[in-house]
């Protein structure tokens, strides 16, 4: 195995010599095949899209708290615009924020550095992956401004609403939305192939499968899950596109089609997709917690196998999204069993993270706060999912704000808290400067506290029967009480506070990047290979004659045979 790895690296180095003479100047950044540059491209595109997704949330939350108000920066919200805003908020946050930041940006940045490779094994495919991703983002943004407006049929895009222009009244917007999503899948398939192949083939000499840092494993497992689940949805998307544009009837019952078919194809992908973004966030969390509690991960293999088990189980739970969708009621019993079973590996993952703290020496740095907050908040998201996986309770909760609050308690910790954890932890490596800890902590508390004040009221509203995707509750007397409007206002005010605190983050980034303290190679005294090179790492990651060899696992903190409390993977024993 290690022979092959060396051979591949050797060939790669030649490839690098070639593209050293490639594009110069600004083109170097647009046309680079360096995994670190591509990671930055993904990161900044993802952050830009997060700002847009956040702005959409601001607009529709203002409308919900103060119906009919002229929202500053947007104007009055029409029902069609409201639908387009919630639809595209969801689509953007999952496909253009969570995936590019957690998987593509950190996967690209970390995998080669963590396994001691000088680049991905397919650098040009990597570049193509980002270019297609950028194109998909541009198409999605364009779809908001075409005639009829952006697609407003929810991110789940159930036909016939999504398939027929007469029904959705956004004929062009729907098609562009669908094309953008399909292109995004293509970008991630290309990226995923690269991640998997690189992890398998380009590891440093001596790095065995169980010496790979968990975050690299998790991103690769997520890529495999994505590859296995997305096929049916792409087929489904092509059929939907044909229904939209060529007038076929795949989902039209009048012509022998079936609208429920789409739901199966969508959720067969859609549920594994949750774990596609969850696993990288768990990997980030466990790596950071190990570093800052100076502890070996409690049960490395247990963690790895449970992640795989979660992934496998996630292919058998999709219909819990369709309990009341008109499927055979007997099917619900089967899917209740599989769905509840998935709580077992997920609980185990969380137990392992908690157990890793035991006996540690915990330092509450900003990245550690984010990692711990991921745990604390995700737990609530996890346990509320059980109510929805149990068919009997889902009859009531389905399509209410309880569902919405539940998945925001999973996705927000994953996509936002997890990303901030990773960003603040690897910022010194990426930019060579330390971030300001005081500003970092202000931003942390200013994000996490309001987050709870946004979504706890929404749980309460959901339990009170408030259903989703309604631009104004005035037509529903039971939902138009003063009490309910107060809760809606509370959520909106909390959102405004949270958004305002994001300015602290951007200010901190710029300030630290300009004037931050030099980070040095290994500011956190961590073990993994990315910390053994300069910050930021040079092209090719290490000088050619200093490529690392690996002698041990990634989490040898506080080893009893050693004076120092960490033991870098590349240090000969």
């Amino acid at each position: 195995m290690s022979d092959t790895a060396v051979a591949v690296q050797h060939d790669e180095r030649h490839a690098h010599d070639d593209h050293h003479h490639g594009p110069q100047g600004i083109l170097k950044y647009l046309w680079s095949t360096d995994h670190k540059v591509i990671a930055m491209q993904y990161l900044f595109t993802g952050m830009f899209m997060a700002v847009i997704g956040g702005f959409m949330a601001y607009v529709f939350r203002m409308q919900l708290a103060f119906p009919g108000i002229s929202v500053p920066g947007f104007g009055q919200v029409s029902p069609g615009e409201y639908n387009a805003l919630v639809t595209n908020h969801g689509t953007i946050m999952i496909f253009w924020v969570a995936m590019p930041v957690l998987i593509a940006a950190f996967g690209n940045y970390l995998i080669p550095l963590m396994i001691g490779a000088d680049d991905m094994v397919f650098p040009k495919i990597n570049r193509l992956s980002f270019q297609i991703f950028l194109l998909s983002a541009l198409i999605l943004l364009a779809s908001l401004f075409v005639q009829g407006g952006g697609f407003g049929g929810a991110w789940t895009a159930y036909p016939p609403l999504s398939a027929v222009g007469e029904y959705n009244q956004t004929e062009l917007g729907s098609s562009l939305w669908l094309i953008a999503v399909a292109l995004e899948f293509v970008a991630f398939l290309l990226g995923g192939i690269n991640f998997i192949t690189t992890l398998m083939n380009a590891r440093a000499p001596g790095m065995k499968a169980y010496d790979i840092p968990l975050v690299a494993w998790m991103i690769v497992i997520a890529s495999i899950l994505f590859m296995l689940s997305v096929g049916p949805l792409i087929a489904g998307a092509v059929m939907l596109l044909f229904d939209q544009t060529l007038g076929t009837g795949f989902y039209d019952p009048a012509r022998g089609g079936d609208p429920i078919l789409w739901q199966h194809l969508f959720w067969f992908f859609g549920h594994p997709e949750v774990y596609v973004v969850l696993l990288p966030a768990i990997g980030i969390t466990i790596d950071i917690i190990a570093t800052f509690s100076r502890k070996k991960v409690f049960g490395y293999k247990m963690m790895l196998y449970t992640a795989v088990a979660t992934g496998v189980l996630s292919f058998f739970v999709w219909a819990h999204h369709q309990f009341v969708a008109g499927i055979d009621p007997r099917m619900a019993n089967v899917f209740t069993v599989t769905t509840l079973l998935i709580s077992v590996p997920i609980a185990e993952l969380l137990f392992v993270i908690i157990a890793t703290l035991y006996g540690g020496s915990i330092r509450l740095t900003t990245p550690m706060l984010w990692a711990l907050a991921f745990m604390a908040e995700f737990l609530l998201g996890g346990v509320t999912g059980i109510f929805l996986g149990a068919s009997g309770a889902d009859i009531y909760f389905h399509d209410t704000y309880f569902v919405l609050a539940h998945f925001h308690y999973t996705f927000f910790p994953i996509a936002i808290i997890g990303s901030f954890a990773a960003f603040t932890y690897w910022f010194p490596k990426m930019f060579g400067k330390m971030m300001d800890e005081r500003l970092g902590k202000i931003h942390f508390w200013g994000t996490v506290i309001p987050f709870n004040f946004i979504f706890i009221p929404l749980f309460v509203l959901g339990m009170g029967g408030q259903h989703r995707r309604i631009y104004n509750y005035q037509h529903f007397p039971e939902l138009a009480s003063a009490e309910m409007y107060n809760l809606r206002e509370m959520a909106t005010y909390a959102l405004l506070v949270m958004l305002a605190f994001q300015l602290v983050f951007f200010f901190n980034c710029i300030k630290s990047w300009m004037n931050g303290k030099a980070a040095g190679r290994n500011p956190w005294q961590s073990n993994t290979l990315e910390w053994t090179t300069e910050s930021p790492p040079p092209h090719g990651n290490w000088p050619v004659d200093e490529m690392p060899n690996v002698y041990r696992g990634p989490y040898e903190y506080a080893h009893p045979d050693r004076e120092e409390d960490y033991w870098p993977q590349n240090e000969p024993s």
């Binding site: 407003g152 929810a154 157990a355 330092r363 737990l379 346990v383 529903f476 903190y557 506080a558």
Partner: protein, 223 residues
């Protein structure tokens, strides 16, 4: 918490299931959070103190994971069992119908077809209404749920019932109201720009009131 009345025979069952799960799940949630924060406090960094080297393979340490892990599975079995019982009652087994109605969703209104005086659906004396459903309290109703265009979802929060209406299908469900009065009917599945106005009301009447309503409306619809 927002008070929402229990208006059907199975509303209490669903609420009790939610309560039972709340207790089980709440126990795990608080146990995990308390353990988590206690560990963070207990093992905060202290000068000159090194952390412990544990691999997680030692049996006496590992059981802190494996035991709770087994307990989670046991809890799951109870939740699955309770949930399936409720599900079978609400969705899978239909009691004999006293009346049958047809509910049709379309962009963006609910149409209700009541059986009329002969209590038979699809006869000349059927009563059609838009946006208001009239039913009699304490009777088993079957509904045939259909859609003319896109997917809608028939939801009555006080009954705790929800069922998607799918074009091309007729889906049968049931309810039995236990309270009288007028309550919300929602469309719970996004169905286009008018989704937010797709509201209707359900009037639950006693036998006399309902008979009077049927009589008053049958006369005018039959020539």
């Amino acid at each position: 918490m927002i008070d929402i009345i229990q208006g059907s025979t199975y509303a209490g069952d669903i609420d009790n299931l939610i309560l039972f799960m709340g207790v089980v799940v709440g126990f795990w949630f608080f146990a995990a959070e308390i353990m988590f924060f206690w560990l963070i406090w207990k093992y905060r960094a202290k000068d000159g103190q090194k952390s412990r080297y544990l691999t997680g393979r030692e049996r006496h340490v590992k059981r802190w994971i494996t035991w709770p892990h087994g307990l989670v599975l046991v809890c799951d079995i109870f939740i699955v069992w309770a949930s399936i019982l409720v599900w079978m009652d609400v969705k899978q087994t239909l009691p004999e119908a006293d009346h049958t109605i047809r509910i049709t969703g379309q962009q963006w209104a609910w149409t209700f077809q009541h059986p009329g005086a002969d209590n038979e659906l699809d006869t000349a004396d059927d009563i059609f209404t838009v946006g208001e459903l009239h039913i009699e309290v304490d009777k088993n109703y079957h509904f045939k749920l259909e859609s003319r265009d896109v997917v809608h979802s028939f939801s009555v929060p006080i009954f705790r019932i929800k069922q998607d209406a799918v074009p091309g299908r007729s889906i049968t469900g049931w309810f039995n109201a236990t309270v009288m009065g007028e309550y919300d009917i929602q469309c719970a599945e996004i169905c286009g720009i008018g989704h937010g106005v797709m509201a209707a009301r359900i009037s639950i009447e006693d036998a006399n009131q309902h008979a009077a309503w049927v009589a008053a409306n049958s006369v005018s619809t039959t020539p």
